[in-house]
C-alpha cells in the first residue's frame, strides 16, 4: 500500500493543497508586485462574476447532457443489435470497439481532416446538399460537430458495457415473460432495463465524469473556437490562464472545478452503491 500512497499523495494531494494555497494569492507576472501577494478571497469573488467562465461551465454541462443521452440511447440500441446472433457478429463487434483505443488527439486530427473546408468530404458533400458547412465559422456547427465526434468515440463503450451486463443476466425471467406472451418492447422496458439498473448507473457515472473532462479532441478539432463556441471548461482554463500567466486566478478556477467534481463524484457513487445493494447482493 505504501508506495502507491506515496505517489498518489505526490501527484494528487500535494498539487491539491498547493492550488488551495495559491488560490488566495495574487500571482501574476504582469502585475506591479513581483511574486505572490495576499489577495484573500478576491480570486473567488472575481470568478463568480466572470461571465466567460460561467458561460464555459454552462456550455460544458450542455455538451455533457447532449452527448451522454445520445450515447446512452444509441449504445443500448446497438447492444441489443449485437445480441442477435448472426454469422460474423464477433467481427463486427471487434470493429465496433476500435474507437475505444484511439487517442483523443488523433481522433481530433482525423475529424479535423474530414471537416476541413476545401479538403474534407463532409463540407464538400454537405455543400452539394445546400448546407454551408464550416466549423471554423459557424458556432453551432462546431458545437454539434464536437457532440457527434464524442458520440463516435464513446458509444462503443456503452454498447460493450451494456452488452456485458446483458449477457450476465439470468435467462429465467425472460423465458417466463415469453410464456406469458410479453412483447419485445415490454420485456425491454419492464425486465431488462430494471435488471440492468446498476450497470446503467455505472455507465452514466463514468460517462458524465469523462464528458465533463473533455479537452483533447476538441482542442485538436477547433481549438475552442470559433470564438468561444466549443471552449469547454478544461480548454477555458488552458486558454485563459496560461497565456495570461495569472496563476492565482487559475488556481481559484482549478479549486472550483475540483470541488464540483468531488461533490458530483460523491453523489454519483452513493447512487451507484445504493442501487447495487438493492439489486446485486
Amino acid at each position: 500500500m505504501m508506495p502507491a500512497l506515496v505517489i498518489l499523495v505526490f501527484v494528487g494531494l500535494v498539487p491539491f493543497v498547493y492550488v488551495l494555497y495559491v488560490g488566495y494569492f495574487d500571482w501574476n507576472i504582469f502585475s506591479k508586485v513581483h511574486g505572490m501577494s495576499w489577495a484573500g478571497l478576491n480570486n473567488y469573488r472575481k470568478l463568480v462574476f466572470d461571465s466567460a467562465f460561467n458561460a464555459s461551465l454552462r456550455r460544458t454541462i450542455l455538451f455533457t447532457v447532449l452527448t451522454v443521452s445520445i450515447e446512452m440511447v444509441l449504445g443500448i440500441l446497438i447492444a441489443n443489435l449485437l445480441m442477435i446472433k448472426i454469422r460474423g457478429i464477433n467481427f463486427f463487434r471487434a470493429i465496433h470497439s476500435i474507437p475505444l483505443t484511439v487517442a483523443p488527439i488523433a481522433l481530433g486530427a482525423a475529424w479535423r481532416l474530414m471537416t476541413l473546408p476545401g479538403m474534407g468530404p463532409l463540407p464538400y458533400y454537405l455543400q452539394k446538399m445546400g448546407l454551408d458547412f464550416n466549423i471554423g465559422r459557424y458556432a453551432q456547427q462546431a458545437f454539434f460537430t464536437t457532440v457527434i465526434m464524442d458520440v463516435w468515440h464513446w458509444t462503443p463503450f456503452i454498447t460493450l458495457t451494456f452488452l456485458a451486463g446483458l449477457s450476465s443476466l439470468p435467462k429465467s425471467p425472460f423465458e417466463s415473460a415469453m410464456v406469458d406472451g410479453a412483447k419485445g418492447w415490454q420485456i425491454q422496458f419492464y425486465i431488462t432495463l430494471p435488471m440492468l439498473k446498476p450497470v446503467i448507473l455505472t455507465i452514466l457515472f463514468l460517462r458524465i465524469m469523462d464528458a465533463l473532462r473533455i479537452v483533447d479532441e476538441v482542442w485538436m478539432l477547433t481549438g475552442g473556437g470559433p470564438g468561444t463556441a466549443t471552449r469547454y471548461i478544461g480548454i477555458h482554463i488552458w486558454r485563459v490562464v496560461f497565456p495570461k500567466t495569472d496563476y492565482g486566478y487559475g488556481s481559484a478556477m482549478s479549486v472550483i472545478i475540483l470541488y464540483f467534481t468531488i461533490v458530483l463524484c460523491w453523489f454519483l457513487i452513493i447512487i451507484v452503491t445504493q442501487s447495487r445493494k438493492g439489486v446485486d447482493r
Binding site: M1, P3, A4, I7, V11, G12, P15, Y18, L81, I86, F92, I95, H96, S97, I98, P99, L100, T101, V102, I105, A106, L107, A109, A110, L113, M114, M119, G120, P121, Y124, W152, P156, T161, L163, A164, S168, K183, P198, I203, M209, L212, R213, D216, M220, G223, G234, I237, W238, V241, F242, M253, S254, V255, I257, L258, T261, I262, C265, I269, V272
Partner: protein
C-alpha cells in the same frame, strides 16, 4: 408485432445491412487518416475521392526519419512503459493491502483515489505545472520536461484504475490460500509474489495493457509539463497545426502511427476491456 420485414432471410439481410453501415461509420475517420497520409499536398484539395492507388511515403519518412517525430515516439514509448511498470508494482501491493487488511479510512482512500481518476486533468495540470517548473526546483534539476515527471503524473489516473481493477480480482482469491501459506512459513512478500501474482495474472495483464494505452494516448499533461526533451507523440500531433500552415499529409501519417500500437493491443484485451474500463464494476 406487425412488421414490414416478413421473412427470416430478409430480417437477417436487414441486420447485416445495419452492421455494414455501422462498420463503415466507425472505420471511416481512420480510413480517412490513411487516405490523407497517402496523398501529396496537391492531391489533397478539390474533389474528395475515397480511393487511392499511389502512396506518398514521404509523409511518413520525412517526420519520422529526418524530423523530430522519431524521438517523440521513442519518448511516448519510454513514458508509457515506465509508467505501466511503476503502476502495476504499486497497484499489486495496494490492492493486496486493501483487500486483505481492514483498516480505518479504507473507504475514504477508495473515494479519494477515484476522485483523482475522475477529476478533470485541467484542474491538476495547472498546480502541477507550477510545482514542476517553479517550486520543486533544486538548482538546475526540476521535474519539468523530464520522462520521470510524466511517468509520475500518469500515476494520477492509472494507479487508481489499476488498484480497483486488481482489488476486485484479489478479493476473488480465497483468503484460506493465504492462511495455509502463512502456516507453511511464507512471508507476506512470498504470498504476494508466489500466490497472488500468478493467480491474478490475467487481471494484471489487462491492467498493464489498458494503463499503457491510457498513458500512450494522454495529451494534456504531456503538453503542459514538457517542452522539448520529453515531448510525446500526442503533443507532436498538436504541434502540426501552426499559423503558417499545416502539413496535413504528415499530420495524418503521424496520427495513424500513434493509433496503431493501442490497436494492436486491443486484440489482446478486447474481452476484458469492459471490466477494465468500468473499474471491474461490470464484467462479462
Amino acid at each position: 408485432m406487425r412488421s414490414w420485414i416478413t421473412g427470416k432471410e430478409e430480417k437477417r439481410f436487414f441486420i447485416y445491412l445495419i452492421w455494414i453501415f455501422l462498420s463503415i461509420y466507425t472505420l471511416f475517420p481512420i480510413y480517412w487518416l490513411f487516405l490523407v497520409s497517402a496523398r501529396t499536398r496537391i492531391e489533397l484539395f478539390g474533389h474528395p475521392t475515397f480511393f487511392q492507388t499511389t502512396f506518398h511515403i514521404e509523409n511518413f519518412t520525412r517526420p519520422l526519419l529526418n524530423g523530430i517525430y522519431g524521438s517523440y515516439i521513442f519518448n511516448s514509448f519510454i513514458i508509457a512503459t515506465g509508467n505501466t511498470i511503476l503502476v502495476i508494482i504499486c497497484a499489486i501491493f495496494a490492492a493486496y493491502a486493501l483487500s486483505r487488511y481492514r483498516f480505518k479510512g479504507a473507504n475514504n482512500i477508495f473515494f479519494w483515489t477515484i476522485t483523482n481518476r475522475m477529476a478533470p486533468p485541467a484542474a491538476f495540470m495547472f498546480p502541477l505545472f507550477l510545482l514542476y517548473s517553479r517550486v520543486l526546483v533544486v538548482g538546475d534539476i526540476r521535474l519539468f520536461d523530464t520522462h520521470i515527471g510524466l511517468i509520475l503524473v500518469y500515476c494520477l489516473f492509472n494507479l487508481p484504475f489499476s488498484i480497483w481493477l486488481l482489488k476486485g480480482i484479489v478479493d476473488g482469491i480465497p483468503i484460506s490460500i493465504d492462511e495455509s501459506a502463512r502456516i507453511d512459513g511464507a512471508s507476506t512478500l512470498d504470498i504476494i509474489w508466489r500466490i497472488i501474482v500468478p493467480l491474478s495474472a490475467p487481471g494484471i495483464a489487462v491492467a498493464l495493457i489498458l494503463s499503457w494505452i491510457f498513458a500512450w494516448n494522454e495529451y494534456l499533461f504531456a503538453a503542459t509539463l514538457t517542452s522539448s526533451n520529453a515531448r510525446t507523440i500526442t503533443t507532436g500531433l498538436a504541434e502540426f497545426v501552426t499559423i503558417i500552415g499545416t502539413n496535413w499529409g504528415e499530420m495524418a501519417a503521424m496520427a495513424l502511427v500513434s493509433v496503431i500500437p493501442p490497436l494492436l493491443f486491443l486484440g489482446f484485451v478486447q474481452k476484458y476491456i469492459v471490466a477494465g474500463m468500468t473499474f471491474g464494476a461490470v464484467r462479462e
